[in-house]
């Protein structure tokens, strides 16, 4: 469990990072919190020849509000996201989910950008960004571009990021602070990766804009439970309808989970978590 040799750079600005990326291309990897990359290197499942350490790039660590959007820099630690007043106010779903990532030691090091770029289908943050239609702001040799979360994740541990690009920040839209929200996950032990996670954002009574249900842990990337969203779009929240919506989440999970040995089980858990998440979110809308 020792990594193969690599060259190490410690840039202090985004521009410097881009220059290094341009120079080393596919041989290089960005190092953020190291909580995924370093274990992979130690297991020799990843063998980058060059490491570009982002920890000295101060401009990447920030939590801000910009024109109603919540902006989180790529190098912001999970712990800071989980404990930020601003995040809790603007986007409580995100704060709730970030607190469920791993253990304190992991949250102290692991970063927003690292988790999203690593794209573990069971990770909390990809699920939340997908649910909230966050925008990933990336920068590369051609300048900046913005990618909707739903298009960012391309499969197991893969994103659409080019090797020459880096993730700069994530922008969460203003309605992310809707009155009903809830993140429910089930893992085999406290702090472990979720077997299944369900994120729910509910608008106030009757409204349909901003309704979102996201699922993680099932399939190769997080996804939106559109059938269930469709059922709830009319604004009704009766028990029977909520149960139908939960079942729809379960059914869609079974489709996405094709190939998991325990697909049926995961489908059942997804439906259960959805039902519970609806209940918590509704309670929070004050209904």
């Amino acid at each position: 469990m020792k990594p193969p040799p690599f060259e190490y750079f410690s840039p202090t600005s985004v521009d410097e990072c881009l220059t290094l990326l341009a120079e080393h291309g596919e041989d290089a990897k960005l190092l953020a919190g190291g909580q995924s990359l370093v274990p992979l290197m130690n297991l020799r499942l990843a063998a980058p020849e060059v490491l570009i350490d982002l920890n000295g790039v101060d401009e990447l660590a920030r939590i801000d509000r910009d024109d109603g959007e919540l902006v989180i820099g790529a190098m912001t630690r999970h712990r800071d996201v989980a404990s930020s007043e601003l995040v809790r106010e603007a986007c409580p779903l995100l704060a709730e989910a970030a607190a469920l990532i791993g253990y304190p030691a992991i949250r102290n090091r692991g970063t927003m950008g690292g988790s999203l770029s690593h794209a573990d289908p069971a990770a909390e943050l990809p699920c939340v960004t997908t649910t909230l239609d966050a925008e990933m702001v990336v920068v590369g040799p051609g300048g900046r571009r913005s990618i909707p979360a739903r298009d960012f994740f391309a499969g197991h541990f893969t994103t659409v990021l080019e090797p020459s690009e880096l993730l700069l920040e994530v922008r969460f839209p203003a309605h992310g602070g809707g009155p009903g929200w809830s993140f429910h996950e089930f893992s085999r032990k406290s702090g472990d990766f979720a077997l299944v996670a369900v994120a729910v954002q509910l608008p106030g009574d009757g409204a349909s804009a901003g309704l979102a249900i996201g699922v993680g842990g099932v399939g190769d990337r997080p996804w939106r439970a559109d059938a269930a969203e469709g059922l709830l779009a009319g604004g009704q929240r009766g028990d029977e309808l909520l149960q139908q919506a939960a079942d729809a989440v379960g059914a869609q999970a079974r489709e996405h989970g094709e190939g998991h040995a325990d697909n049926d089980y995961r489908g059942h858990v997804a439906a259960t978590l959805a039902r519970r998440a609806f209940a918590t979110a509704l309670e929070r809308t004050g209904r």
Binding site: M1, K2, P5, Y265, V269, T272
Partner: protein, 800 residues
Amino acid sequence: MSETQAETQAATQQPKLLGARVTRVEDPRFLTGNGRYVDDIALPGMLHVAFVRSTMAHADITGVNVEAAASHPGVHAVVTGAEMAGEAKPITCDSLVPTWQATEYPALAHERVRFVGEAVAAVVADDRYIAEDASELVRVEYSAREPVASIEAAIRDGAPRLHDSWEDNFFVKRHFNGGDVEGAMAEADGVLELDLVSHRHSGIPLECRGCIADYNRGDNTLTLWTSTQIPHLVRTGLADVLEMPENSIRVIAPEVGGGYGIKGHLFPEEIAVAVLARKLGRAVKWIEDRREHLLACIHAREHHHRLQVAYKQDGTVTGIKALLYVDCGAYSVYPWTSTMDTGMALGILPGPYRIRNYECEAYSVTTNKCPLGPYRGVARPAACFSIERAMDEVAHAVGLDPFEVRRRNLVRDDEFPYESVTGLIYDSGSFHEALEKVCRDGDLEGMRRLQEEARAEGRYLGIGFSCYTEQTAHTTNEFIKRGVPIIFGYDTAIVRMDPSGTVLVHVSTHSHGQGHETTYAQVVADQLGIPLESVKVAFGDTAATPYGHGTFASRSAVLAGGASLRAAQKVAEMLVRFAAEHLEADPGDIELAQGKAFVRGSASRGVEIADLARWAYHRPEKLPDGMEPVLEAVSSYDADPGTGTFANAAHLVLVEVDPETGGVKLLRYAVTEDCGRMINPLIVDGQVHGGVAQGIGGALLEEFVYDENGQLLTTTFLDYLLPGATDIPKIEVTHLETLSPFTLEGIKGMGEGGAIGPGPAVASAVADALSPFGHVFVNELPLTPERVRKFVQQATGNAA
């Protein structure tokens, strides 16, 4: 009593340390990071090893190309199995049981691999990084054979054989028949057929294995620092396979970061590292990483049991027929052999219950998996799982409370010493009282109230218990019966007082979490009348300690504790003789206390023990005629009659099951345990806590999963889940003290027990929690959420 008499008594007596809740003297060292483990040791010019490990479960090695690796900068040697075979004999460990079939476990696989992770080649380099880089360049060519990846695959007709000279895939076949089982079955009111499965898991020490070998060409001596529980047995084993004189080998087990039985073996890697050091004339270090540990150290616990349980309508169990299979993996392990688990399970399955008719067939099976060895509890977790689940099922069948059914079957207090149907001698015990006490102390009534309230809210709480008796400190007679080649009888202690009056105790056991530095010191200080701080306990270096077996099988407190006590008594006699001469008193009147030797009843007539010690060595002319200037004694202790002493305990647990996700949460856990006289209740509590935590791991989380090709799927802690602090509830421990009639001071062992009870208790509680859905027989561990869901569905189906 007059005032002066009272004063005299206070001055000339010392409160006994034996039995006191003394805080552990070793802890400050650990807590301040001053423990010194193998990896903290660096020798001049030391090189580092990485092993190339088999990626195939079962294959012939058709070629090993080391050229690229050998020419990699910084590499000093690349050694293959073929070369190793010329330097060291394979590990063989043969049972004396007649049906035994032997294996040869080579230091590096040669010609054939038999499990994924088996070491195939070793790369020695300037550092571990380079060694790992170069190990990736070693090309091993395999010709695949059909893998045998489960008990079923191993025992079916026409199964491929792992070992060519064998007739089938059984290390050993055992059969026992006692009483009249057929009669019991015929006369029973009912017979239950129960299948039980405990999946493979293991003890996971914080510190993985590791060793350093250093060879001195000048005088042909080898020193091996290794993280082991059994330094002397490793030395003997090394001498055999390396064909070196044993007096030229020194094994040092420094601080060992947890063992749990897993580190009580001679390992192929230790042999390989020793050979490399001898070959290169340089010190060579190997530090196992976690992936290697999970792949290739020692696995445990994989048992399939099939029982037929005959019972009467009043809940008494009248007979049991058992068929046991244990998946022992690819090779027999040194010094235990692959017979341990079947032997132990066969013998102890009836547990603390009065079952007189019992027939058992037990098979140790070989498969293409990591070798199986002893882990805290050895076979008893599976045996206890079987008998305890059987008790619950009998209770269900006859419509009685499981507590009552246990009460009706437990061996009664007036039956001790009790000879079990399999010939085990239960020396003493408190089976009934322990069960009743754990229900009181753990508040069974309160648990039942909580359960009722929760059910009203639609939540599923369940209560479970388990009882067991734990054979501990079994020595000569028991090991002869088992047919192991080495009889782990005695252990030995040397007690040495130096000229300043402080004492160094050298023992043949090893402490790696058990707190021996405290407990043995308590025993010795009592005998010598000196403070605890004046006694230091040392172990682990074969050059300094007397020969003995090491620490395993819940034996150290009884055996090395007993040996320390006896050796200390001998030194005490020397001090008494010297003091009597000096004080002109009768030796029979001399008492040792508070650091002094007194004439009984006279506080003023005394002499400092430190003065006696100083004179003994520096003023020998003061010694009584014929007394040698040696305040030192060696003693060995075997706990006659060698059949062991049986501790017992009862566990009580309250769980909450989420029937929709299958999640299980432990809400409360209570243990009442009885290990005879406790040397130190604080340490006993700690041992129970640790054991229960490991037992909970095996009950809920830990499992090595192999696929049908024999690939291990759980090679990191991402997949092999261990319980963390937040997964373990507060464990309430209370004690009974039923003395052993067989041992010094009535002490019993207890190190393993905590790990035995949780599996059946948790399973029983989960079944109880699910009872509103219907009755279900929870028969498989660990209880992963998916399995619990399966049981929910079964319960619902059973009710329909």
